[in-house]
Symmetry: D2
Subunit: 312 residues, 4 copies
């Protein structure tokens, strides 16, 4: 992630305000973070601070001003118990430049406000996401919707060449259409999904955490994960207490379902051997030992390994 | 509307920011506007400015910086053509103190974020909205859900006395319960709807305009209209261009339905006499001249009077 | 619009239900309506009826059962006065097949529920929207984001040939990638926006009317208008009273802004000559007679022509 | 919970439909479930079924029809991995009668559609929730917002008498106002929060599960929990597979935060003694052994007890 400190963007003048400010957010304003080969994320507005979250929560309690030192504990409590409305008091607006393919996933989050570059009104941005020969990913074998290891550079080189040709052909045809007088709204119809678009994206902190929880996850597609991670850098600095709570109680949290808790209780004592765990889990889920392991058994075993419930 | 400039509220320190500021919003921060006998509305945060709206719209057009002088025309265009997303880029947070009865209407707007004083957690606010003897309103005769003229002061005095007694009795019983050890969440069950509550209320400018359009309307209940009007004062100063567009293209706009346009075309020439208009309208809506005037005919005639389509 | 009555879709069994049914909706269930060259819209579920809307409104009035004959008047009243919540009681689920380009516009409506075909999980649908040589549209001259007349068939033939080549090349490269072991989520990155996708789309009737109001408009892009018109066919039959109210009070309605009403009052008598109208409008909007006509003046004149306020 | 099978409600006629039906939902249509002393919940409409959820998920996978026997496993998978959109395909509409105090909490769920009885338009419902002398609850000592044990019947008798007097006085004053000609919208201002209101409440299954997760929780107020439990009865029968998944992966699930997992790993072997657990937890959270136990330590210990991580 590269910081374009000197990106040629003209900073707005510094103003005085009675609003809450956060040093971490001020620091990131108008500083684009590069994403992928030609994209970025840039904070352009924000509202509120960790203190705003605490204060909104305290109106519920009818309490007066408290020491800032207690804000972290209060924010932890709110996050732990899913009291989400105080986090809605904070807002962030990002200017993003992103391939349409990733944007298709992004836009599915319905709680944000969006103003996107219009290719009906203007000529489409002349940039499409290119793939480095070393960065073609294989189809995951254990996950029908994910990626596995990188493919060989030799194969990647061929794939990247074909990619470049296709992108050029698509752009040429687009421009021929526009030059022939075809309406922009129709000319764009065969642009590749890799074409960059730009947008203002505004979301409150509660819904942003929901977005980050899904899109920073290792199962999220690499391309959107890059953007989620870039946004996370800004949030960490802008709302450090809320971030810490989010990380501990949401991002790094794990669930134990009712069934999994039952198995914990049945086994009674940890660590156990891997064989014993599998035996109990299969028994519980009616998954005979000679059959392929049921997905839920598999997930449980992975989770219990992570918890060191299994003897090494 | 009285401005409590010296309300004992301690102002936060002035900070420097790279964000957009609006002088009109800064002026209103932490200045409560009195509403009803013991309520208020107070701006505590905001985000964006008229310029933000124009800039968000321009990302759609892929256009660079334009002259501020063109912002009003652009904002008018957006409002006229119901391009609402740029208005979502601005946010306001108000601290409000309002009787629960009006709050019950207020909270029906689902697009806002709310943190309300909790009477499970804390003792209920010891204040209920009182009615001045001169301000008891009669049931409207032409509108099943509205108010008409004020009732006599003589009657009002009796009503206000009974009101005071009831409110005292309700508060005494509430406090007896709490003092007897009843849980606050149960003790509150018979508090009158006139009891004041407090909340932080956050909403974006597009949805705020929707709220104001409904709640500033002459058919809205007086109590909530007082709050809507107070909020409008702040919006006018904070986002003057957006307000001007809202006022002209929404608040003061009138619809002509397909039918009404048809009647305009049938009549062909204005002004007409009241009798002629009624005749044509009844004919169009199959409402015979000897029958009570249909609601829609009545509304049309009122609208056409306002447009001076009827000769005086 | 062609009805694929015999589309090979296996109808579910007929069941008995205590729920409200509407004959018009039942008629459309599982009957796809063809859209564009390879798309469709098909109703797969619905909830409620005109009667549900009336009944939901009546709970507000605390009233008992009324005659069905009064439902249309009540529904008209609700629509006329923007009482929108009763329309939220009805739901429809459509199965749609649509080019991603149109889908990008469609999905901006945030109040719907969506389950879309996943090209991470499955191989992308092998179909892209093709343009008939006679259906290439020119860029509109009076509207920066719209289309004008059709281009010549001669030019269109060339454009359609180039389109076919590009679509084939893009598909070939996609399949080469998949066959080379590239993850589907990455392989798809250069698919053209014309590629078809499929989805279940669920929306309540109030929000559907909002969608239709925008997407049936003559300024909406042709491709999405085709889908909006297809959906409208279903709604007309399924909720005939609500449709009638929508058509009259929303779709065919026109606004008169505060300014436009002022001009109506200033002029006082209609019809006027075109010259007189332009003179008054320019005066009102400070648009000198020797300058290019301001956009707002132009819109006003067009509207007043439609209302026959201008003598022919 | 009493089933008013014979509630005098006239059932609508049975119709034929091509839509999906669920026997469990059909069974509950128009059967009110009594709640509190004079409230109820009654299913009046629904859309979809367990099969609809599975089918909506399968469109994402581009897969054809699968065996119903696999639906439960698929629905479990969706719930486990928070793939929430397929659950949005199902809808339920309830008619509810509920005290305004509980309704104030209920209405905070912004994702539902609501049509409520209007006390501007109609005379307020003449019923207020009454408390049995044995059902006055004490303030919880360990939870600032909850209830503890019941108070003595002796004290309860006095409290119930005072409650009855207050409710009568409030109703008398309300009726005096109405009879004196006061507008209904103003007359209602001092009605007690215990006054019953009625509404149609529509929500999709995903958001309903969110509501139930919060309102069936033991920390929810008793009054709203009664309604949540009644609704749960209907959901269990109407969408049995979805309910089973919700119960296991949401309602009965427990989180382990990042910190709690760390402690699990530090301790390494379970069960431990209570003293050892407290020691490690205090160490981890910097909560010295001689200080009052920090809230988070307390919650962790309670959770670990439930998991039988502590030796009995």
């Amino acid at each position: 992630m590269v910081l374009n400190a000197n990106s040629g963007i003209q900073l707005p003048p510094i103003s005085e305000t009675l609003r809450r400010t956060t040093p971490g957010a001020e620091m990131w304003l108008y500083k684009p973070i590069s994403c992928l080969d030609d994209g970025h994320v840039m904070l352009v507005e924000y509202m509120g601070s960790d203190e705003s979250i605490a204060q909104a929560a305290r109106v519920s309690y009818g309490a007066g001003t408290k020491k800032v030192s207690e804000d972290q504990a209060l924010i932890n409590y709110l996050m732990r118990h899913r009291h989400t409305t105080p986090f809605e008091m904070c807002e962030m607006v990002f200017r993003v430049r992103v391939p349409m393919d990733a944007w298709r996933q992004w836009i599915r989050h319905r709680t944000a406000s969006v103003n996107e570059y219009s290719t009906r009104y203007s000529v489409a941005i002349d940039s499409a996401q290119k793939t480095d020969p070393k960065q073609w990913r294989s189809q995951a074998t254990d996950n029908k919707q994910g990626s596995g290891d990188y493919l060989s550079e030799e194969l990647g080189t061929k794939l990247s060449e074909a990619e470049a040709q296709l992108q050029h052909a698509a752009r040429d045809i687009y421009e021929e259409r526009v030059n022939s007088g075809v309406a922009r709204e129709q000319a764009r119809k065969d642009l590749p999904l890799s074409t960059y678009t730009e947008a203002y994206w505004k979301i409150d902190l509660h819904n942003l955490f929901h977005f980050l929880g899904l899109r920073m996850d290792s199962h999220a597609q690499y391309e959107i994960r890059v953007y989620a991670n870039a946004i996370a850098e800004v949030v960490k600095d802008a709302f450090p207490m809320a971030w810490q709570a989010f990380e501990n109680y949401h991002l790094n949290a794990t669930y134990l379902s009712g069934s999994e808790q039952e198995i914990v209780r049945i086994i009674g004592s940890f660590p156990v051997t891997a064989a014993k765990l599998e035996e109990e889990a299969r028994k519980f889920f009616n998954n005979p030992p000679d059959k392929k392991m049921a997905r839920e058994v598999e997930e449980l075993i992975k989770k219990f390994h992570q918890l060191n419930f299994v003897a090494k």
